[in-house]
Amino acid sequence: MENNLFLSEMIRSELSEVVGPDFVSVAESDKFIYSTDWAWMPQMWLDRGMQLRPPDYIVHPGSAEEISEILEIANKYRIPVVPWGGGSGTQGGALPIFGGILIDTKRMDKIIAIDEKSLTVTAQAGIIISQLEWALNEKGLMLPHYAASSNCATLGGALAPRGTGTLSTKYGKAEDMVLSMQIVLPTGEIIRTPPVPKHAAGPDWFRLFLGAEGNFGIITEATMQLDYLPEARLMRAVLFDDLNKALEVGRLIMTHRLNPLVIRLYDRESTSSQVKKVLGYEYDGAYMVMGFDGDPEIAALQEKKALDYCQQLGGRDLGRDPGDAWWDHRYDFYYPPKSLKLPWMYGTTETVTTFDKIANLYWAEKKAVEEGFVDWNVKFIAHFSHWFHWGVMVYSRFIIEEPPQDAQEALRLHNRVWNAAMQAVMANGGMINEHHGVGLKLSRYMRKQYGEAWPLLLKIKKTIDPNGIMNPGKTGFGF
């Protein structure tokens, strides 16, 4: 756009006609701030004094209709469009790598309806999750998507990358809570998915938009399933000498449907570093936190059964305090300087697989990262935090405390570590991601992840977004 001021101004005028001049920005300051999201790669790039490609326009629409008109302009001029919620993604999914129009959805932040009979809320997608949660709490309700990013991420931002919150083990991922959505398709049509997700009226096409990261359209509204605020929440901590035995306890709890709201199992390295740093506990072993909520009697019984499994497999009951402390401070891990932060290099290579593969996957990834980058004194830490009836997610992370200072060299090293981790993950039956999404960071692994099925996804993309304007370069799709 810089080379064609005339055209740039023409487009700006058209966008202003749609949303009003106050809601289109080409200010240097805005372009700069919106040039990065929460991924390590762009943050490191700016940290080292390098500029990123900014968006050409930052637009703040107030309705689905306005988004539709913006997309009409984008199609006409073949301009990339990047949807933006809270900018809290770790995968570079909101980076405007080809410039274009960045659509910040946060003006669309209204709660449309709370149905206290069906326990649902319908809200615009730009609402910040914590604000929505506060509003629900005033009615004794909760949206049990308690993500670490809730203070900054939007409702749409939880759905677009298939996000997960702390309570997912009992209440599911964000995608499990959504009943229906309003979506603006890349070609401008405003559609609604069926009012309920569980039916037999044809294929489950509404799930196409979950995890598409804006590639198939922009989520503008969602109806979400709610729950009552629990009467009781019982937290407990257990320490294991043997990580594999702790994993087996988790499997037993899940396969016997004891319904924990959370099981968070830190490996020995994570226990001695992250848990020590944030919670102050100096445990030698694998620290496991588990919680049960709802009816006090049922929760207590579930907890008792779970503790029995822990005892059978050598777990040492640490009592309630270290569990409560974790619950009270569960997001403290993400506040700097407690969080991982620059100038370190780090990455969350989290993945998910079935119980039969999880231990092998963990050890294989750990070996690939630690042995492959021994010269960089890389650290590998992990916790197992989102459990299913069939398997578990491992939140694995690598940390290099003294990475190269040169930005390009640092980026290359970062990508090499990711390659090693992802190869180990895929070779051991894992998915390249469980809840942060694909974004730019993992885009290059999508073809391998899906193999023969990948062309089908490409065809769907071409059908829904014929001009390829939506979030180009992300989720495996090109420009």
């Binding site: 700069f32 004094g49 900018g87 946060k106 509003a135 203070n151 506040y335 700097p336």
Partner: protein, 371 residues
């Protein structure tokens, strides 16, 4: 001196580096809430400052306006698990920008007014204070120039409670505005003059009318200005004293005939003073005949009402903060919005009609119902 509390260069750098990529207070930032601009959030301010330091941005009209769009309300810090002093770091950065003559023109105009008249509203020097008493009342400038009825009523209430304070700081800013605009020397001059008056009064306790004044003397002096608070002198909010007298049965109120639903609006800077939320509500409940409605942005998450530096530098953001408070009260079902801060009262009252609200001074309401 307060060297351990005043931000040192390394602390400022660490704060900016911590905040530039942290989004954990995004949900409570009032400016971010009304503008929806990522740039105008704690993360945006942190990244802007950090990027100027790295040569990626320069201070120009655009970026300086961003820097001066923070409300300096303290909400981010109140919600920060690691207590990052971002508002203080922004004030220090503004001081650097102002020293380079790069601050917005309006900032220099206000600065001149503060230097010459000690207030931004009227070309009038503060009244000279005479007299001594055990208790002093810091009046400030808003209560003189924006909402005088608050002072009159507060004095009536204090008299009924058996307290006759000597008035100090009549028409003088509490220093926060100068500090917030990036003129710490002027802020120091203003507070030092008030402290000289306090010393001359012989008072061992200084009452303040608002949470903003409490914050200024309890925290600003030590956090930003190298001014020492006099040893042995207590600061107390007037409403806190009234509450004690009410609880002791010294103050009595009759019930209001007004049946209209009301909401209490926590004044700006309230969340910088934890554990003060119940006191004004308790006093109001003793007068009002109906239960108070609660705003969404209340108590620990109370947003400012548009006063402070923003009203002079980016009045459109200031107005939106005021609108947001009024809209919040309206959505809560209130017809009367009650608060005690004279600045807030003035701002809210300016736009109340369009939200169908009547703005009521807290002190006036109580004074009108004294038994």
């Amino acid at each position: 001196m307060n060297e351990e509390k005043i931000m040192q260069p390394q602390t400022i750098t660490a704060t900016i580096e911590n905040c530039r990529y942290c989004l954990m207070c995004r949900h409570v930032c009032p400016v971010g809430h009304v503008t929806r601009r990522e740039t105008l959030t704690p993360h945006g301010w942190g990244l802007t400052i950090a990027s100027v330091q790295r040569g990626l941005l320069t201070w120009n009209q655009d970026t300086v306006e961003v820097l001066y769009s923070c409300a300096d309300c303290g909400t981010c810090r109140a919600y920060c698990v690691t207590d990052q002093q971002l508002p203080d770091a922004i004030a220090i950065t503004r001081a650097e920008v102002a020293a380079q003559n790069l601050a917005p023109a309006a900032a220099y105009g206000i600065h001149t007014a503060l230097q010459e008249w000690s207030n931004p509203y009227k070309r009038q020097v503060p009244e000279t204070v005479n007299g001594q008493a055990e208790i002093a009342l810091f009046v400030g400038d808003d209560a003189i120039y924006l909402w005088p009825a608050a002072l009159e009523s507060a004095l009536k209430l204090l008299e009924a409670a058996g307290v006759k304070p000597v008035l100090i700081g009549m028409g003088r800013s509490n220093g926060h505005l100068a500090s917030s605009l990036g003129f710490p020397d002027t802020a120091k001059m203003l507070v030092q003059t008030t402290l000289d008056e306090l010393k001359a009064s012989g008072a061992q306790r200084m009452l303040v009318l608002t949470p903003g004044d409490y914050y200024a003397f309890e925290h600003l002096l030590s956090d930003r200005l190298e001014v020492e608070w006099p040893v042995g002198v207590e600061i107390q909010e007037v409403i806190s004293l009234l509450d004690i007298k009410f609880t002791a049965g010294i103050l009595k109120f009759k019930s209001s005939d007004d049946k209209r639903p009301y909401a209490y609006i926590d004044p700006s800077h309230s969340l910088r003073i934890p554990a003060r939320y119940d006191v004004p509500r308790r006093l109001l409940a003793s007068v009002m005949s109906t239960a108070g409605h609660e705003l969404f942005w209340r108590k620990e998450r109370a947003h400012p009402c548009g006063i402070g530096a923003l009203q002079f530098i980016t009045p459109q953001i200031s107005d939106h903060l005021t609108y947001a408070r009024l809209a919040d009260a309206q959505q809560a079902g209130a017809q009367i919005a009650v608060t005690e801060d004279p600045g807030c009262l003035s701002h809210l009252n300016r736009h109340a009609d369009r939200f169908g609200l009547h703005v009521q001074g807290f002190y006036e309401l109580l004074a009108d119902h004294l038994v």
